[in-house]
């Protein structure tokens, strides 16, 4: 096994008896280099197996063509689709994606933000950790003209780009759908609503929909989960189904929760959707697997990823932000499947 040292532009320059600056320019088709030379250089570069050193270029220009992604975890379907979208768009413009997981820990998020900064990423896409209240660790980006895009779980009070869905209207739509199916006592399973404005917004939509249709808002029917997990969902569902009279509809702020509600209901002998209609949120893969298939709200994860990456790349190209809006609202839809269908539409 040969020990190739990396081939550099110096090696090419020496071989062709040209200056390194000429090599550098030739490789990027600079106008001040003749076609003849460009061809010669490119040929030699290929033959010698030259691969540019991104670090050197990044160091000089202080831009790395790298997008930093800081999210709670990559294993949630929504987030892995988000990454997928980011990565696809980034790739088209020759950007790399560097991913870090905060695991919903504020502390880790702070460290990782520093690490991204340290890596001189060209832009940052972030979905906040559950724990995060203070967002001052993102100032280092804002202060240095590094575009910052928050996605989905965004801070209330930070003046930067954000890509979100309209959680209020989605919550409203979901609830309205249940009402239209004839539900009169609709429960809501939510999470961490004391802070996360995301879940709060959905809840607000839920409440408004009830009010608009002259249905009572019963606080007993709103359960706040400790975490968005299957286990917590089962706990909450059991609590919910102990209430008399039983609710006849459930709007869960996440498919995992909805699924746990469906299964808990079935286990207790309740029929879905006849006894109880259930709708989730996100359109995770499981929503199509569970029996009955879960009605849900679409959440355009990949699109959001693409949009976020686009903002960063465009913002980078045109020093000043032109046609990119500060806030991109992406569309959501009610996906009616079996778990909530009581009437033919």
């Amino acid at each position: 096994m040969e020990e190739n040292k990396h081939v550099t532009i110096y090696d090419i320059a020496e071989k062709l008896n040209l200056a390194t600056s000429t090599i550098s320019r030739a490789l990027k088709d600079h106008h001040s280099i003749s076609d003849k030379t460009i061809k010669k250089v490119k040929k030699a570069a290929k033959e010698m197996g030259f691969v540019p050193n991104t670090l050197a270029a990044g160091l000089r220009g202080n831009k790395t063509k790298t997008i930093g992604v800081l999210i709670p975890t990559v294993t949630q379907p929504f987030l892995s689709s988000l990454i997928s979208g980011i990565e696809i768009t980034a790739q088209k413009s020759d950007y790399s994606v560097i991913i870090m997981q905060s695991h919903d820990s504020y502390h880790e998020e702070v460290n990782m933000a520093k690490s991204l900064y340290s890596n001189r990423v060209s832009g940052v896409i972030c979905s906040l950790a559950m724990e995060t209240r203070d967002t001052s660790h993102f100032h280092q980006f804002s202060n240095n003209n590094i575009p910052l895009v928050f996605v989905d779980r965004v801070p209330k009070d930070y003046n930067t780009f954000r890509v979100v869905i309209d959680n209020y209207s989605a919550g409203y739509k979901a609830t309205k759908h249940l009402i239209e199916q004839g539900c009169l006592r609709i429960a809501h399973l939510t999470a961490g609503s004391e802070f996360g404005n995301l879940y709060n917004e959905r809840k607000r939509g839920y409440v408004e929909a009830l009010r608009d249709h002259n249905l009572p808002v019963d606080d007993e029917l709103i359960i706040d989960l400790k975490a968005v997990t299957y286990e917590e969902g089962v706990k909450a569902s059991n609590k919910l189904f102990d209430i008399k009279p039983l609710p006849d509809g459930v709007f869960a702020s996440g498919d995992i929760i909805a699924v746990s509600a469906v299964q808990t209901a079935k286990r207790r002998g309740l029929k879905v959707p006849e006894d109880i209609a259930i709708i989730g949120f996100n359109n995770d893969p499981i929503s199509q697997i569970i029996d009955p298939n879960l009605s849900t709200i679409t959440h355009p994860a990949e699109k959001m990823g693409k949009a976020a990456a686009d903002i960063i790349i465009k913002n980078l190209k045109s020093a000043k932000n032109e046609d990119v809006q500060e806030i991109a609202f992406l569309n959501t839809e009610v996906l009616v499947r079996e778990s909530s269908k009581r009437k033919e539409s």
Copy 2:
């Protein structure tokens, strides 16, 4: 909003009237710097908001504390768990993770390998694209002492680290389990077995198990999917269930396929597991959601990610590979759930 230029060690040096070399060494507790100076420097660095520039350090030392991950996609549960494992281990040793998706395209894989090399990653973890036959695009790593670890979908003929499960024995175990449940006509749903040694190995285990138990191997009962998707699974299942006499057991080489088989069976009025026992592979989240719960083979994704990252980090620390084996086999187990349980154990 102030336009902080990045704070460098030069700024610190100037402020404290010290040389940059002293700052650099002080920040990493070099023994040749007095405690007094170290404290002074660290204090100033903190006050001034100094964040080291990873690029500069990487350029000089030609090592970046970055692990490149090259996988087909991040959205498959197995792979996102793999990433999670890599990321957790990397983080402990202060490594960053840079992720690229080949989308199972050979062409993209080649480009991305180049990009990782260009980024001077310290090591590479890769699960091969479906399309990949030739692996010479990985030579650039091997030739330059950049540790390379293949995970799960590994090349046959490449002399480097690999982290895998024993697919043969897993396939054997799965099939044996079905036999023990009383199945006599066991089908096998596999994919891309004309190349991928991964699926081939499972199939080999399936065949051996049948032979060892004196059951016939019926080629008609082995169906090779075009892709590992739900839709292809449904197609294959329908084809399978058209065969007379019906198989009474199915070993699917993936949970998505198994799930599609379960649902297709149900749709056709077949009872799972009474009429047909089904076992999948991977222990994806859906396996616990589907009704009946899916028996499956555990696939220690996160552990494999941790193992792969460990290999890279250890290999980097000790120039020569000491206690790391070339091949790490991780353990798998049969997870008996409802979809295959015909007898009380």
